[in-house]
């Protein structure tokens, strides 16, 4: 990077900030809180998920600080147990599940389809209120009594614990509704509101990813709803559904819980994969390598993901036959992911790649997805899982995917689409620095955790045998680096919101459909009727007027 980033103002890119956009079309609080505009609802979701990310991050730091020493460090055992429960619940239900669909899906799905809004705008707003209310209830429950069951609230511990688990469960139940409403809205939108010219195989890959995600949201979340109700009922009334003393079966809980929670991880990762498909094409100025395969593999992951839940029960005493069946199916999901990875790398071949923060996040994403994904396949190899189950190896695996893949995707989306959503550019140098810190910090945090799992350290341990100390200290050091990276991002993005350079319509020179509208878009999305003559992500015949990229790199 030589000179500071400046824009070469070019008439076609229109580097003047649009006078009227969705951002200033009504400036009262009421116009935001009662909006039907999918873009404003996306911003509302962004506020919610950023609060969740912050809270979840704080809880994570408390955990890692406590784990600096083998014995008690800064908090006591009960508080620690509440901390990892809080961290898991907040991160999963308040951040990971809603983030990319709720923010970027809401903002861009209609625009990418040439639609003026989602199918049911009022239900869209309702889903945000449901999300906020459920989150508030869950947090309140966690504050007044503090559930200490872990986010997986296994029975019979969860049904007999003296901590206040009922409001937490009801909060989760309600947040689930938000997820269902969003998914439902998106499915109907994709089926009914595509503009003429947008056939199924002309849809951007982000839309395919969100479509697959929405199917899972709609089908799997009700089972979680039922499970939370059952646990709440048993905890309150002593029903005995999961209590062997009354004829119940604790393993039934595990099956019901994981029937949702395994597809849930695909709710988290599929949208991130969709983001990567979008960003990689823009960053490499290249068509996607294998459009149909990537689109179909998203559906494949969604479908096969429904049948793999039993790999969370390998050590629960289930029969070898069941274990084998679930293991084989879990492997198939790995194959679909491998297809995507090869196709993404293939996209870079003969591309024109720009070294920007989104590209760093793509690199991070690719490496972490491959490593995390393959450790997933390793875990699905049943005999190995006997050693690794419920140890830090599993923790490292899912953080590699959830943080390494999903959050990299989130950060790539945030940077890639920041100019479109807010009309301004972020400072590239700071972004590169932060991206580097995040990738480094992430490795430093979670690679020691793979080794801890190998060494045999179980998860959810407040105190641990002394031989695990040095790896824990290393992991905490990495976490501090990671936290620092996030803080830097928060600061420069906040500043860029107001003082960033005006972006213009298409600072990346991207051929994604959403870059044809102004930045930020007007409330009706389009200032001229959208015309869809090109396929998504095509760069081989860029017309003259779009050839001049407005972002000097």
């Amino acid at each position: 990077m030589t000179a500071p980033i400046t824009t070469t103002a070019s008439p076609s890119s229109g580097a003047a900030f649009p006078k009227k956009s969705y951002l200033n079309d009504g400036t009262s609080i009421r116009s935001w809180l009662l909006t039907h505009d999918h873009k404003r609802i996306a911003i509302l979701y962004l506020v919610g998920v950023l609060i969740a990310l912050f809270l979840g991050g704080v809880f994570a730091m408390v955990i890692r600080l406590e784990l600096l020493t083998p014995g008690p460090t800064i908090i006591e055992a009960l508080t620690y147990n509440r901390m990892f429960t809080l961290h898991g619940l907040v991160m999963i239900f308040m951040f990971m599940i809603p983030v990319i669909p709720g923010v970027f899906g809401n903002f861009f799905l209609p625009i990418m389809l040439g639609a003026k809004d989602v199918a049911f705008p009022k239900w869209n707003l309702t889903s945000w209120y449901v999300y906020m209310f459920g989150s508030a209830l869950m947090l309140w429950g966690l504050i007044i009594g503090g559930a200490d069951t872990g986010w997986t609230f296994y029975a019979p511990y969860s049904t007999t614990t003296t901590t206040a688990i009922t409001p937490v469960l009801l909060g989760v139940f309600i947040i689930g509704f938000s997820s269902i409403l969003t998914g439902l809205n998106f499915i109907v939108t994709i089926h009914t509101l595509r503009a003429p010219g947008v056939t199924w195989f002309k849809m951007p890959l982000f839309v395919w990813a969100v479509y697959a995600t929405s199917i899972i949201q709609v089908l799997a979340t009700p089972v979680l709803g039922l499970t939370t109700l059952l646990v709440a009922a048993e905890h309150t009334f002593g029903f005995g559904f999961f209590d062997p003393a009354r004829g119940g079966d604790p393993i039934l809980f595990q099956h019901l819980f994981w029937f949702y929670s395994h597809p849930a991880v695909y709710i988290m990762v599929l949208p991130s994969m969709g983001v990567i498909s979008e960003v990689i094409c823009a960053v490499a100025r290249k068509n996607i390598f294998g459009y149909k395969m990537i689109a179909m593999s998203s559906l494949g992951i969604a479908f096969v993901g429904f049948f793999a839940w039993g790999h969370h029960l390998f050590t629960s005493g289930q029969s070898p036959f069941d274990a084998g069946a679930f293991a084989a199916i879990s492997m198939l999901v790995g194959v679909f992911t491998a297809i995507k990875v090869f196709n993404w790398v293939g996209t870079l071949y003969k591309g024109a790649i720009a070294f920007t923060a989104p590209f760093v996040y793509i690199c991070g994403f690719l490496f972490f997805l491959v490593f995390g994904g393959m450790t997933g396949v390793a875990l699905a190899t049943v005999s190995l899982d006997v050693h690794w189950q419920d140890t830090y190896f599993v923790v490292a695996h899912f953080h590699f995917i959830m943080v390494g893949a999903v959050i990299m995707g989130f950060l790539a989306a945030l940077h890639y689409w920041f100019p479109k959503m807010f009309g301004r550019k972020y400072p590239e140098n700071w972004a590169l620095l932060a991206a580097g810190l995040i990738v480094l910090g992430f490795n430093a945090t979670f690679i020691p955790q793979f080794l801890l799992g190998n060494a045999g350290m179980p998860r959810r341990y407040y105190e641990y045998p002394e031989r695990f100390t040095s790896l824990n200290v290393a992991s905490t050091a990495g976490a501090s680096l990671l936290a620092f990276g996030f803080i830097i991002i928060a600061i420069y993005l906040a500043i860029a919101l107001k003082y960033g350079e005006v972006a213009g319509r298409n600072p990346w020179g991207s051929r994604g459909y959403e870059w044809d509208v102004p930045s930020p878009p007007p409330t009706e999305n389009f200032d001229k009727v959208p015309v869809f003559t090109r396929g998504p992500h095509e760069y081989q015949d860029v017309p003259e007027e779009l050839a001049k990229v407005g972002h000097g790199i």
Binding site: P222, L229, L230, G238, F239, G247, E524
Partner: protein, 223 residues
């Protein structure tokens, strides 16, 4: 939904249909979206109940005698009565839908009222059954003290019974609320051949509630 106050009465005796939402190109597209969305939502309800049916089958496999005995001790009379009540109410709802589609709002109103009344009757009968259970102490989990069930697993049967029928009853209440709201709109003559989607969707919900009972009834009362 758009306020009915803004819509004018037409010559045929019903309010003109609400304006097309700005992001839909055609009314047909809008109708298709509403119908599709409703069916998707019903799918989620099916999955919600699927879990409890799974629980039923699992525990029935563990405790077959207790489930048989307990099933025989449920009141076949009241259970069958409830089934007939719900089936009839589904018929009246379907007929109400037909009338609303033809703009005969008053007829639709009365039929919906009948459906709501039958929903209320269903709940009363359920209440009678529940009361009997409370008296006999045929209750779930730790409250179970019913000597008629001699095989192990009695408490679990009642867990499944109360949870499944309780969740169902909750849905009946929700369904009744939806039907009430739609009935009020019928009274205001809002529906016409161009606009009857709310009646259709509320009706679909009610049919689902009925369908869940059609599965619960034989599993609990008959086998």
């Amino acid at each position: 939904m758009e306020s009915s106050a803004a819509r004018k009465m037409t010559a045929e005796g019903w309010l003109e249909p609400p304006p097309l939402p700005h992001h839909y190109e055609t009314e047909e597209n809008h109708k298709h979206a509403l119908r599709f969305g409703m069916w998707l939502f019903l799918g989620t309800e099916v999955l919600l109940f699927a879990g409890i049916f799974v629980g039923y089958f699992v525990f029935r496999t563990y405790f077959p005698e207790a489930f048989e005995q307990a099933g025989r001790h449920l009141s076949l009379f009241w259970g069958t009565a409830n089934t007939l009540v719900l089936l009839t109410s589904s018929l009246t709802v379907a007929t109400a839908h037909y009338y609303a589609e033809h703009g005969k709002n008053r007829n639709a109103f009365w039929l919906l009222t009948a459906s709501i009344a039958m929903g209320g009757m269903f709940l009363c009968i359920k209440g009678i059954e529940y009361h009997d259970k409370f008296v006999e102490l045929a209750l779930p989990g730790k409250f179970f003290h019913y000597n008629e069930i001699t095989a192990p697993g009695g408490p679990i049967f009642y867990v499944v019974y109360f949870f499944a029928t309780g969740l169902h009853a909750l849905h009946v209440i929700v369904g009744m609320s939806l039907l009430t709201w739609v009935a009020v709109r019928c009274w205001r003559k809002e529906f016409s051949p161009q606009y009857y989607a709310p009646v259709e969707n509320a009706g679909l919900y009610w049919h689902l509630v009925d369908l869940v009972w059609i599965f619960l009834y034989p599993l609990l009362y008959l086998v």
